[in-house]
Symmetry: C2
Subunit: 409 residues, 2 copies
């Protein structure tokens, strides 16, 4: 009863605003159709959207004047019907783009993504964000954003906003509330600080949790494409999950949804940094893996796993089982059919999958009658920053007038 059970609220449209908001709604419809369906003629758009051709033409003209769409594309496929060929409308190369900035524990990364979802530029900077004052790192992230914006503009794109991915609990306003693996960083008003430190104060700034945004990235362009329900489980120092249910990212009222790392897999297990015992992070987090495997550093762990070092394989077997118990709890709570392994777990998927799937198959109730697939992330280390850019691009498509004031005139 998915549809029947949702408490839909019909929006009340204030009378005075109705005409303008109808136009804004229709502009969004046209833009969404082009973003999702690719180039299309005005006539086809009109048929698809249930609008008249003249309405669609007027909307397209407005979007073209704002530089969002263009007529300047070859009709594909060639029109089979006789008469004047229908000229397709497409997203303009010089249209809006968004920046995605990731603040990780061990580095900074950024990218530029356009409305079609294409990656226009990326840049990475290795930094140890646990040492040194957070303000200095934020200034570095701001400078990275400024360089990417300049690059995007030089290549003809129009930056309209930026999303920030952060490895901690981020609230609905984009404020980092807790950062267990980046001591001294929280609280931190990420959008306000980066808007100032980047000099890009005219952009729309948003922020979210790294695993949540990685899930959004995979949904837009990776292993979550076409999946209404899935979870991305991302492991590094911490373990986070990004939950997509019914096509929507679930962040929770305080932004703490998907804190999978602190699901208990053994009530009397080792003490965790959070104060509880037996959190899955104490079995499958990067530091627990290094301790159990007797190696130092992420690269050393991956290389030891590659040469099938016995102690590391035993640590990974134990980690896979613990992850399986925690993922089974998650599947029993939210009934997702797909688990996407991201971060470190993507690199280790070939070793982790077997014990993980074994525990999952035993413990997830839905596994007894419907499959739970475990797959590797497709976007890898790009997932979170691409999702961060996608967060802004989704907003642009939903409400183009808010981002492109010239459309409102």
């Amino acid at each position: 009863m998915p549809e029947a059970s949702s408490a839909t609220r019909l929006p009340a449209v204030p009378g005075a605003a109705r005409q303008a908001s109808l136009r804004a709604h229709n502009l969004a419809l046209v833009l969404q159709a082009l973003v999702e369906g690719g180039p299309e003629s005005r006539a086809a758009l009109a048929r698809r959207l249930g609008l008249t051709k003249s309405t669609v033409s007027a909307l397209v003209e407005q979007l073209a004047a704002a530089g969002v769409v263009t007529d300047d594309v070859a009709p594909t496929p060639p029109t089979p019907a006789p008469g004047r060929p229908a000229s397709p409308v497409a997203l303009a190369a010089g249209g809006p783009v968004a920046l995605g900035i990731e603040i990780a524990v061990d580095g900074l990364a950024g990218c530029v993504v356009d409305l079609a979802g294409a990656l226009r530029a990326t840049e990475r900077v290795a930094t140890d964000n646990r040492s040194g004052p957070p303000r200095e790192r934020l200034a570095q992230a701001g400078a990275l954003a400024a360089r990417l914006a300049a690059r995007a503009t030089a290549e003809g794109g129009a930056p309209v906003g930026a999303g920030i991915a952060f490895p901690g609990i981020v609230d609905a306003a984009g404020v980092a509330r807790r950062a267990p693996n980046l001591p001294g960083w929280a609280p931190c008003d990420l959008p306000a600080l980066l808007a100032r430190l980047s000099g890009l104060g005219t952009l729309v700034w948003r922020a979210g949790n790294e695993a949540n945004l990685a899930a959004l990235g995979e949904q837009r362009a990776g292993a979550g494409r076409g999946q209404a329900d899935f979870v991305l489980v991302s492991g590094e120092v911490g373990i986070g999950a990004g939950l997509v249910l019914g096509g929507r990212l679930v962040t929770g009222p305080t932004g703490a949804a998907g804190e999978l790392g602190h699901v208990c897999v053994a009530p009397d297990g080792p003490l965790c940094g959070c104060g509880a015992r037996g959190c899955v992070e104490q079995y499958a987090g990067l530091e627990a893996l290094q301790r159990a495997g007797g190696v130092s550093g992420r690269a050393a762990l991956l290389s030891a796993a590659g040469r099938r070092d016995a102690a590391v394989l035993a640590a990974l077997e134990r980690a896979g089982r613990a992850l399986g118990v925690a993922c089974a709890a998650l599947v029993n709570v939210v009934d997702v059919p797909v688990i996407v392994l991201g971060g470190l777990y993507r690199e280790l998927a070939s070793v982790l999958s077997a014990p993980l799937c074994e525990e999952l198959g035993r413990r997830a109730l839905r596994g007894q009658y419907a499959p739970v697939r475990v797959v590797a992330s497709e976007l890898g280390e790009d997932a979170a920053m691409r999702g961060a850019a996608g967060l802004v691009l989704d907003e642009v498509v939903r409400d183009p007038v808010a981002f492109l004031p010239e459309l409102g005139r």
Copy 2:
């Protein structure tokens, strides 16, 4: 980033259907305003909905002709303005009602609920649904539905649909797919069978999981009122959870969301009926509680708890801790601020709450900066059947034309 992160799809309205669907949409708006806000004048409705007064008057006239609303109420509060008093529109006593039918492990229950959410009638039948052929019990449930429908009609209501609450996994079509605590029942097309066995084939029939529908009931009229995010944890023989996230019930793609009973709290714990070890049901389910407490039957358990029997108190302490570990996993996954204890746990809340809250406080990450409240169900044993009726009533409000064909003319 709750809003920004959701992948909203704007509905495309087919051109030809636009006029009729606009009217259907506006009928729904007016009905929803009256259901949520109580009696109101046409002028106030028009202002609130951004429609013209003449449009609202025409819509009200249609709803009145279909028996859904009436003018025949005293204006409250008395109009302060001079001139003709605005006559308020209200839901009609003779309007649509829905049946809610619960098939529990140990009985059948049913109720009649009207659009305003008022309980018009209830009836309970004690049956052991684990013994005897399911078909016979279904026939009894059908007869119960027929009696309730006749009673509703005799009292002037117009039954339009019925919801069925079932203690198992129920898919989106209302088919019970698994019923671990009612052997021999699944698969079972509950809506089709009860439509036939009740002789009420003209009603709209829906079905869902008992805990999910109990959450819907609490959301409409109990401890979940005004809560966008909460979980109802209902314990009997099995343990189920009903999750409301962002105002919507989450059932999962196969209906298995909220299978909290099979969340693992000790990987090497006792063997569960599901085949796994250490499921919370093996610590906090009714049968585990009876075994550990040395009592036989639900009533004996409650009475022993009431006289503070040492063995039963120890079993409840252990159960509370296990529930706390499982609820912490749930809170870490979906970040809910409220846990509503239903079923048996409502009766035992005074004993279970302390150990449950202690584990929860230690293990739920959000507990470190935002509270997680544990409260008792307000609707008690009525929750699931009221939610089942509510499932249908929500549909009526969303799309009155589908339920009241006279509105379509």
